[in-house]
Symmetry: C2
Subunit: 176 residues, 2 copies
DNA sequence: CACGATGCCGAACACGATGTTCGGTTATTG
DNA sequence: CAATAACCGAACATCGTGTTCGGCATCGTG
């Protein structure tokens, strides 16, 4: 037996409402009230499905992860350019999710998604703990993603991916 | 005329209360109520000095920035090892500030502080925008800092600084 | 297609946190 | 010592939260 249609409808309405409100006013400013009005759902109903707006966010991110994973597995080339390209398609949503303006709360969650991809594709470097390496690559990815969406939104995904390679390769140098 | 002693006392009490509460229960869970009780300050008094707990946090971070800047300028060696060493001294506070457990809200703010240091010390690499480079280095620093405080708290500052150099140098490689 | 189950509505409620106001008290400065 | 400035504390309106309940609709199944 499949999921009850009413359940599916309610949850979809709330997922959509969350995205719409994130775009409109940013995640931290969203209240459960807003979600109820936007999704046209009763208060009791909301709490029958989710325990809080954070819970709703967490489950939404599971969907994002699946979508990203699917986008990557469907592509021939490198995983990073697949991600950048996919992000470019849905730029407004991801800009709101990853950008500075929308708050830092979500970045950690998205970052964890990326770290998952990275962990499977590491060529271990001796003397650097594997977990740190995964975190490092995910961090560089997130930094670049934020910068791209915030400051250079017209850049092509290929160009961004090339920058990604150069940052990872250590082309940036400091004066000590 | 200097600052009124009562003003100084009140603000100091609130700064200390903020740190204490961050250590005890994490930043997001803190309420203004908690701060009032912890600092033993009247409600009206709090709002005479700060507009919200976010405001209090922002001003506290200005103090952190000054402390870090002073720690760096007082050191002979590289800025990064100065920062790592200083952080090691006040590990519990920074662990709560930068760690995953305390939430991601604060990381952006601390990151901005670090980015300030970095921007002045870049050796520009051709073809990579300077702002991205600064963000990149600050990002790598924050990633490493979080990993250190969360996962390897017993590591020596020098060892961490060495890892910092190797991450920046591009020793981490991926299979595409 | 009909019936029992399941999900939804909407209103009401207690609770806790916010940010403001005001009159009275205490500390500071010069 | 006197004027000034800061603090207290209590009260208040407002808002968001999370829960409860009875009545209504929609669903999947027999």
């Amino acid at each position: 037996m499949a999921v009850d249609r009413r359940v599916a409808r309610t949850r979809a309405a709330l997922y959509d409402a969350l995205v719409a409100l994130i775009l409109r006013k940013g995640y931290p400013a969203i209240t459960v009230q807003d979600l109820l009005e936007e999704a046209d759902v009763g208060r009791a109903t909301f709490y029958a499905h989710f325990t809080s707006k954070e819970d709703l966010l967490a489950r939404s991110l599971e969907r994002v992860r699946d979508i990203l994973a699917e986008a990557v597995s469907r592509t021939e080339g490198s995983w990073s350019i697949a991600l950048f390209t996919h992000v470019a398609e849905f730029r407004p949503v991801y800009a709101a999710l990853a950008g500075i303006a929308a708050g830092d709360v979500l970045r950690g969650a998205i970052r964890r998604v990326v770290a998952g991809f990275v962990a499977e594709r590491l060529l271990p470097a001796p003397g650097i703990p594997a977990e740190l390496q995964a975190q490092h690559v995910a961090g560089v990815f997130m930094t670049l993603l934020s910068w791209w969406l915030d400051r250079r939104p017209r850049l092509e995904p290929q160009a961004v991916d090339e920058l990604f390679g150069r940052l990872l390769a250590g082309e940036v140098r400091l004066a000590f």
